[in-house]
């Protein structure tokens, strides 16, 4: 006892603290440097893009179809296509992904089969997107005969981001404390009531975040969409979903050929004329803004959910 | 109760409380002996000392009460501990009353010394002996947590009561014999009465000890005045 006491007394506390502080500073400094490097690279990219493309942005640019002449080319069909495809993707991926995640987390019994499914789902997130394109081509376009349409594009992208949504849903549900569940069951709720009234509402923010992450990835995916046959030069828009006569909504637009922003950009950048490169840069800026808008919407929805506890 | 409290200071405080009671009990025993001594020897000096010393006993009772109250507040005692602490408070009260009676006997002694002596008293010293034995026994029973001893002492109260009756009768005849004896006899009767009350309080202590140990009162015959 006396020996260890003596040992403790020999410790030089000021020096120990000094060294600890140094290590703290070192680590914080290194972290700061790394972050600055990453941010500055990002900023450089964005600024470069802006310098090239900012001048080209105009109302005409947003509302014109592509053309052989760079000064008349616009991204109308591209951004409409992207928006519509994103709509279909979200519409398909969210119910399927949330449903699957919910089932796996709440209803499935914990056995080896569930484990295998779990592993597969996580693996699917890493599969190269072009493989999804090939799958979609063979299955949806040829076997089901759905054609090279917005619908199929939405389907393939939904498949792509499905694992992301599933995992996000599971994580969100898992993070709900057990006490909430116990409280609900103790009141006499059955499983569906507990899920519907307490688990899902509480998991909404997490699910939403996961969905946005998935959509943000999907918005930029080019390979699978090209594979299923998106066109690169479209001078028309898909038919509008709302019309003046009965039945007021139609789904013909799903069957329409289409193009997407990244495809349009790729097409322009491959051309030799420098003016088209400027167009591509401008389109890139618009794409960035679209992504930011989507993120902003998600943040806004999360904020509203947090505030309005129903 | 073979085991100790998890918090040792609890045990220490209870031991301290017990020791205080024993100390007080020892002083009370001493007071009784001195008072009877003064009575028999007709010594005013000794009587005065006994009366003076009674303050000390009162102070000890206060101390014991304070200590016990503090234990109640800080330890939230349960079951056997609760009974011990609450009964100890009551026992110290009984001891204090016994001390008071000893002082009262000493006061009688002062008055008696002024008048001529009556025939030699046999019975009163005998009463005193039994009362002293009872007090000693219950104090022993308290520290040893021996309820049998307490009950044995409890039973001797009848003896003391009987002896009081006989002292009363004896002194009554003296009073009737010679009216000049009345004053002294009355004082002696009162002294005997004080002894009888001391024995009653010792009996009370015995009852509290029994309750302390068993959680039940001694079954008793209907109380009499």
């Amino acid at each position: 006892m006396a020996a260890s006491r003596a040992q403790l007394e020999r410790i030089d506390y000021p020096r120990l603290i000094g060294r600890a502080r140094q290590a703290d500073l070192l680590f914080a400094g290194a972290g700061l440097v790394v972050m600055l490097v990453a941010m500055s690279m990002l900023m450089v990219l964005i600024v470069d893009l802006a310098i090239d493309g900012m001048g080209r942005l105009s109302w005409d640019f947003l509302t014109s179809f592509p053309s052989r002449r760079p000064e008349r080319a616009g991204i109308l069909s591209a951004w409409v296509g992207t928006s519509l495809v994103m709509l279909v993707t979200a519409f398909l991926a969210v119910p399927l992904g949330v449903g699957a995640g919910l089932y796996l987390e709440e209803y499935a019994s914990k056995n080896w089969l569930t484990d295998i499914i779990e592993i597969n789902v996580t693996n699917l997130a890493g599969v190269p997107s072009i493989i999804y394109g090939l799958l979609a081509l063979g299955l949806f376009v040829y076997a089901f005969g759905l054609g090279e349409t917005i619908l199929v594009a939405g389907m393939v992208l939904a498949l792509l981001i499905l694992p992301v949504v599933i995992v996000a849903t599971r994580e969100a549900i898992r993070s709900i404390p057990q006490e909430v569940r116990e409280g609900a069951y103790a009141l006499g709720a059955d499983q569906w009531q507990t899920v519907r009234m307490y688990i899902l509402p509480a998991a909404r923010p997490g699910i939403l975040t996961g969905t946005i992450v998935g959509l943000a990835r999907a918005i930029g995916e080019t390979a699978p969409v090209i594979t299923i046959g998106a066109l690169t030069f479209i001078a028309f828009l898909p038919p509008p979903p709302i019309e003046g006569e009965f039945p007021f909504v139609n789904f013909d637009w799903l069957q329409s050929p289409f193009t997407l922003m990244p495809i349009q950009m790729f097409n322009w950048i491959s051309r030799p004329q420098a003016a088209f490169h400027v167009n591509a840069a401008a389109a890139g800026l618009v794409l960035l803004v679209m992504t930011l808008l989507m993120n902003g919407l998600a943040i806004y929805i999360r904020y509203r959910i947090r505030k309005g506890i129903r | 109760m073979a085991t100790q409290h998890i918090v040792k200071s609890y045990d220490q405080e209870i031991t301290l409380l017990t020791r205080k009671v024993l100390e007080m009990g020892g002083l009370v025993e001493h007071q009784i002996a001195k008072a009877i001594d003064a009575l028999v020897k007709r010594s005013v000096e000794d009587a005065a000392k006994v009366i003076e010393f009674d303050d000390q006993i009162d102070r000890m009772e206060e101390e014991i009460d304070q200590h016990a109250i503090r234990l109640l507040a800080t330890r939230q005692p349960m079951a056997v501990d609760l009974r011990l602490i609450t009964m100890t408070m009551k026992i110290s009260n009984d001891l204090e009353r016994i001390g008071d009676y000893a002082a009262n006997i000493a006061k009688r002694c002062k008055r008696l010394a002024a008048s001529p002596p009556i025939k030699p008293l046999y019975t009163i010293p005998r009463m005193a002996q039994i009362t002293q034995a009872m007090v000693k026994d219950v104090l022993d029973a308290y520290v040893e947590r021996d309820s049998d001893k307490a009950v044995a002492a409890w039973h001797r109260d009848d003896e003391v009561d009987d002896m009081y009756t006989s002292v009363f009768r004896e002194l009554l005849t003296y009073m009737m014999e010679d009216p000049r004896n009345i004053s002294a006899c009355l004082d002696l009767i009162f002294a005997a009465k004080h002894l009888e009350r001391m024995a009653d309080h010792a009996t009370n202590i015995a009852e509290k000890i029994h309750y302390m140990i068993h959680g039940q009162r001694i079954n008793r015959l209907p109380a009499e005045a």
Partner: protein, 313 residues
Amino acid sequence: MSNARAQRVADQMPPRAAWHERPASAGVESLGAEAGPLVADRREPLARAASPESAPRAEAAGHKVEVRRLSFWYGDFQALKDISIPIGEGAVTALIGPSGCGKSTFLRCFNRMHDLYPGNRYDGEIVLFPDGINIVDRRTDPMLPRLRIGMVFQKPNPFPKSIYENVAAGLRIRGIRRKSLLDDKVELGLRQASLWDEVKDRLQTSAYELSGGQQQRLCIARALAPDPELLLLDEPTSALDPIATARIEELIDELRQVYTIVIVTHNMQQAARVSQKTAFFHLGKMIEFDDTDHIFTNPKHSMTQDYITGRFG
């Protein structure tokens, strides 16, 4: 002591029958004629002042639940061994014992909470009166006891919803949708939990904005709103400060007039304060079950005494 003075003392007593259900002790009676008027005066005004619901129910009424030879296993580990206790109607029964003795496990058998986790097994019976069904029978749907029994947990666990929705939760689960009915029951529940005055102006605000003590009372209101037959309290005040604890103990005293309550607590003084009957558990067995007064002043079992006096455990 004069009759007038006795009357004054009796008037100061609270109108509840809390400790005065028990007949006057033999000691008082043996005082004889001298004490007669005192005793009579004290008991009579108390009986008059006590409201009809607070008349002694524990002894007079029957049992609400009878536990018969209940055993419980977590997988291979036997957590409860052959427990038999009656739970008196309209009384508070306290369960005490050292950590890991099985008191919480026992409590959670009443509403089949163990069914939420795999690998658990019951044996024996928990018979709920007046219909006499066995709660832990395999054939009994776990939802049935849960719909008739309310539970309040150790850590306040309000739902991430508004105060109103929290209290209404049990009602919505039972399919009650009419707004006026919900409003009434929510107000009743909050009043019963002594929370109405504090929250009546902000029923739509989040439950998480309440303090710990208020949240726990909210959970009590939530459990009471669907009018349960039995209320289970699992260490309801162990996460609260002394003032909040005292308010909940006061609440328990009031609720006892209407509900049967079983409370698990590791605070022995609390068990002594709020309950009429107490059971002492140790390592899955019930060691002693008796009136609370007896357990805490003169327990029969040495293990019980050792535990409550702090000699072990």
